[in-house]
C-alpha cells in the first residue's frame, strides 16, 4: 500500500482562541476558521502572516496541544483530529527551545527513545548520529542552561528527529535571533529536515526566512489561509490586495479601466495586465476577467520591475526590452536609499511616488530628472 503522498493534510479546521472574547474586538467568529492546508512528505511549507493572526494556535492545534472546534487533521494516512498529542506523530517545537533542564544534552535527545523503551544500544547509536549530524558531538554531557541560543535550537531539532515524526511543526524558530545566529539555525533546519522525509510546517512573520526555507508559502490573513503558492507564483500574482500588501513586493497606485485592453492611471495609459491573470493559482477568485470600463481598480507593480536611469539614453543593449516597457520621462528624484536588497531612488511622477532600482555606480543627484522604465509584465490589477 503506497504511503499517502501528504505527510499532513488539514481540511476546514477551526481553532477557538483561548484569549477571552473581550480582547479580540473584531466581530468575526472567534479564532481560526476554514483552514485547509497540505504538506507533502519531505516538503517544507512556511506559514507566513502578521503576528497575532493565530499561526501559533494553528500549529498547536495540529500538534494536539490546543483544542479544535471543527475540521479534520490527517497525518500520513491516520485521522488524528481526536487523538492526544503524544500519538499523532507530530513534533511541535516552541519559539525558544524548551529543553528538559534536569537532563543532559544527550539525555534530552534520547528522551523520545527512552520513553518508547528503545534498547540502549540502538538508542545511543541513534543519538550519537543525530548529535554528530547537527555538530553537537562534543556537547553531549553538557547541561542545557550552559548552551548558546543556536546550540539549544540544534538540540531541540535533534530531539525532534529522534522521535521520527511524520510532521515537524516549528513555531517561529528564527524570530528572536540575530542575523548570524539566524543563518546558523536556518542551516540546522535544512540539515535536520534533509535527513528525514517528514513534512515540515514552519511559522514565521519574516518574508526572507519564508522564502529561504519554504518550498511553498501559505499566507495567513484575517484568521484564515489566503493563499498557498511557491514564492515565484506568490510574487507574480498575489490572490488579493491584502496578500499583495502583506508580501510587500508590489508598489500600489490607483487606476480606472478604459476598456478591455488598457487602464488610465496617473502614470498615463497602461495596457491591461493579461499574463498576470493566466498563471494565477487555482485558489484565485475568477472576478478579474469581469472588469467593466470606468471601474476603479488598484494596480500593483513589482518593485523589481521599475528601473530608472539618468536622462542620457543608454547603450543599444537595453533597447531589446523596450517592447514590454513603459517609459516615463522627467521623473524628479526625491531621495536615494541603500538596502541589502539593492539601491533604490524615490521618484516623483505627477502625483505618485515610486521607488525605482538605480545603478549604484551612477547615482542620479537629488532633484534631477530621470527616465523611469516599467516592465508591464510586472503589473497586476484588482477591483477596489
Amino acid at each position: 500500500m503506497t504511503r499517502a503522498a501528504n505527510a499532513l493534510s488539514v481540511e476546514g479546521l477551526a481553532v477557538p482562541f483561548a484569549t477571552p472574547a473581550s480582547l479580540s474586538s473584531t466581530a468575526g467568529p472567534q479564532g481560526l476558521h476554514l483552514i485547509s492546508l497540505e504538506v507533502a512528505r519531505g516538503e517544507r511549507v512556511v506559514l507566513l502572516g502578521p503576528s497575532g493572526e493565530g499561526k501559533t494556535s494553528l500549529l498547536r492545534a495540529i500538534a494536539g496541544l490546543t483544542p479544535v472546534s471543527a475540521g479534520r487533521i490527517q497525518v500520513g494516512d491516520l485521522d488524528v483530529t481526536h487523538m492526544s498529542a503524544e500519538s499523532r506523530g507530530t513534533v511541535y517545537l516552541h519559539q525558544t527551545p524548551v529543553l528538559f533542564p534536569h537532563l543532559s544534552v544527550e539525555a534530552n535527545v534520547a528522551f523520545p527513545l527512552t520513553i518508547r523503551r528503545v534498547p540502549a544500544a540502538e538508542r545511543t547509536r541513534t543519538v550519537h548520529t543525530l548529535l554528530e549530524r547537527l555538530h553537537l558531538g562534543e556537547l553531549a554531557k553538557r547541561a542545557p542552561h550552559t548552551l548558546s541560543g543556536g546550540q539549544k535550537h540544534r538540540v531541540a531539532l535533534a530531539r525532534a528527529l529522534a522521535a521520527k515524526p511524520n510532521v515537524l511543526l516549528l513555531d517561529e524558530p528564527l524570530s528572536a535571533l540575530d542575523p548570524v545566529l539566524r543563518r546558523d539555525v536556518r542551516d540546522a533546519i535544512r540539515e535536520a529536515h534533509a535527513e528525514s522525509d517528514a513534512g515540515l510546517l514552519l511559522v514565521t512573520h519574516d518574508l526572507d526566512d519564508a522564502t529561504s526555507l519554504g518550498d511553498r508559502l501559505a499566507i495567513m490573513l484575517d484568521r484564515t489561509i489566503a493563499q498557498v503558492a511557491t514564492a515565484e507564483v506568490l510574487f507574480a500574482s498575489p490572490v488579493s490586495v491584502a496578500v499583495m500588501r502583506f508580501v510587500g513586493l508590489h508598489q500600489e497606485f490607483a487606476g480606472v479601466v478604459r476598456d478591455a485592453q488598457s487602464v488610465d492611471t496617473p502614470l498615463g495609459a497602461v495596457p491591461m495586465p493579461r499574463g498576470a491573470t493566466a498563471s494565477r493559482d487555482a485558489l484565485s477568485d475568477p472576478h478579474v476577467s469581469s472588469l467593466s470600463s470606468g471601474q476603479r481598480v488598484v494596480l500593483g507593480i513589482r518593485s523589481d520591475a521599475i528601473r530608472c536611469q539618468s536622462s542620457a539614453p543608454r547603450s543599444s543593449a537595453d533597447r531589446r526590452e523596450l517592447t514590454n516597457t513603459l517609459t516615463l520621462p522627467s521623473a524628479r528624484v526625491l531621495s536615494i536609499s541603500h538596502r541589502s536588497g539593492g539601491t533604490t531612488a524615490a521618484v516623483q511622477l505627477s502625483d505618485v511616488v515610486m521607488h525605482a532600482l538605480v545603478d549604484p555606480m551612477s547615482l542620479p543627484p537629488i532633484d534631477s530628472l530621470v527616465t523611469v522604465h516599467i516592465d508591464v509584465r510586472g503589473l497586476i490589477v484588482f477591483p477596489e
Binding site: 477557538p16 494536539g64 496541544l65 490546543t66 483544542p67 479544535v68 472546534s69 475540521g71 481526536h82 492526544s84
Partner: protein
C-alpha cells in the same frame, strides 16, 4: 457537528482514584478538628466510647477570664510584634544578601538559616545568654526577642529568594530617574513586594504563634503564651482545656491563612 472544545486531557489520575485521594485528604485534614471540638465540649471521653459521654461548655466558659484567654491575647500580640520586627529586619538583610555572589551567598544563607534549623534546646541556651546580656531575660521582651531570631532567619531566606529571582531592574530604573534611596524603597521596592511581604508577615506570625520549645527553654515562663499553656495542660492530662487551647491556637491562624490566600493570588515567593 463536532463535540465541544476537546481539551487534551493532561490529568494523570482517572476519576475513581481521584475521588478516593480527595476523600483521604479530607479525612486527614478535618478529623483532627472534629476530635478537638468534641474533646473541648466532651464531659468525659474514655474507652470504650466512640463519642464523648455528655457535653459541657465549662472549658469554653473558663476561657474568658481564665489563663487561656490571657495567654491567647499575649500570643497574638507577641505574634504580631514578632512578624513586624522580623520583616523589618529581614527585608533589608534579604536584599543585601541578594547582592552576594557565588559561595558567599551560600555561606550567608546557611548562617541565616542556622537559627531556624538549630534544635530549640541548643538555640535556647544561646538566646538565654544574649537576652540575659541585653538585660531582657525572662521578660516578655526577652520572649519576643527569642521568637524574632528564628523568624528573621526564615524570612530573610524568603526575601533572598524573592530578590534573587526578581532582579534589580526596577530599582535601577528609579535610581537613574533621580529617585533617592528613600523614594526608591517607598515608591518602587516596597509596593512591588506586597505579596511576598504579606507572605513573610504570615509566616513570621506563625513561627511565633506556634512556638513552644523556645518559649519553654528561654522564656523561663515569664510570658504565658497559648502554646505553652496548651503544652502544660496536655502534659498534665487536662485534655478538655487543652483541646480548647488548641482550637484557640488553630482556628484564628487558619482563618488568617485563608484570608491571606484569597487576597493574594498565588504567591510563589516561598523559598524553594
Amino acid at each position: 457537528m463536532m463535540p465541544p472544545a476537546l481539551v487534551p486531557q493532561s490529568r494523570v489520575l482517572t476519576s475513581p482514584w481521584r475521588a478516593m485521594a480527595i476523600a483521604a485528604l479530607a479525612i486527614s485534614t478535618v478529623l483532627p478538628f472534629v476530635i478537638l471540638l468534641l474533646q473541648s465540649f466532651g464531659e468525659s471521653w474514655r474507652w470504650p466510647d466512640v463519642l464523648p459521654s455528655g457535653l459541657t461548655g465549662s472549658a469554653w466558659r473558663a476561657v474568658a477570664g481564665g489563663s487561656l484567654g490571657r495567654a491567647a491575647v499575649n500570643s497574638a500580640a507577641l505574634g504580631v510584634a514578632t512578624a513586624v520586627a522580623a520583616v523589618c529586619v529581614a527585608l533589608p538583610v534579604g536584599r543585601s544578601l541578594a547582592q552576594l555572589q557565588g559561595a558567599w551567598r551560600h555561606v550567608a544563607a546557611a548562617l541565616v538559616f542556622l537559627p531556624v534549623a538549630a534544635p530549640p534546646i541548643a538555640l535556647g541556651a544561646g538566646l538565654q545568654i544574649v537576652t540575659l546580656w541585653l538585660g531582657i531575660a525572662s521578660t516578655s521582651v526577652g520572649v519576643w526577642f527569642s521568637h524574632t531570631v528564628p523568624a528573621i532567619g526564615y524570612v530573610s531566606l524568603l526575601f533572598l529568594g524573592v530578590f534573587t529571582s526578581r532582579g534589580t531592574e526596577a530599582e535601577e530604573a528609579a535610581r537613574t530617574l533621580g529617585a533617592s534611596t528613600w523614594h526608591t524603597w517607598t515608591m518602587v521596592v516596597i509596593p512591588s513586594l506586597r505579596a511576598p511581604i504579606t507572605e513573610a508577615l504570615a509566616i513570621a506570625f506563625l513561627i511565633s504563634w506556634t512556638q513552644v520549645a523556645l518559649t519553654l527553654v528561654v522564656g523561663g515562663g515569664a510570658l504565658r503564651t497559648l502554646p505553652l499553656e496548651v503544652l502544660t495542660l496536655v502534659r498534665a492530662g487536662q485534655d478538655r482545656p487543652a483541646a480548647v487551647g488548641a482550637l484557640l491556637l488553630i482556628v484564628p491562624a487558619i482563618a488568617a491563612l485563608a484570608a491571606l490566600r484569597l487576597g493574594a493570588r498565588r504567591t510563589d515567593a516561598l523559598p524553594t
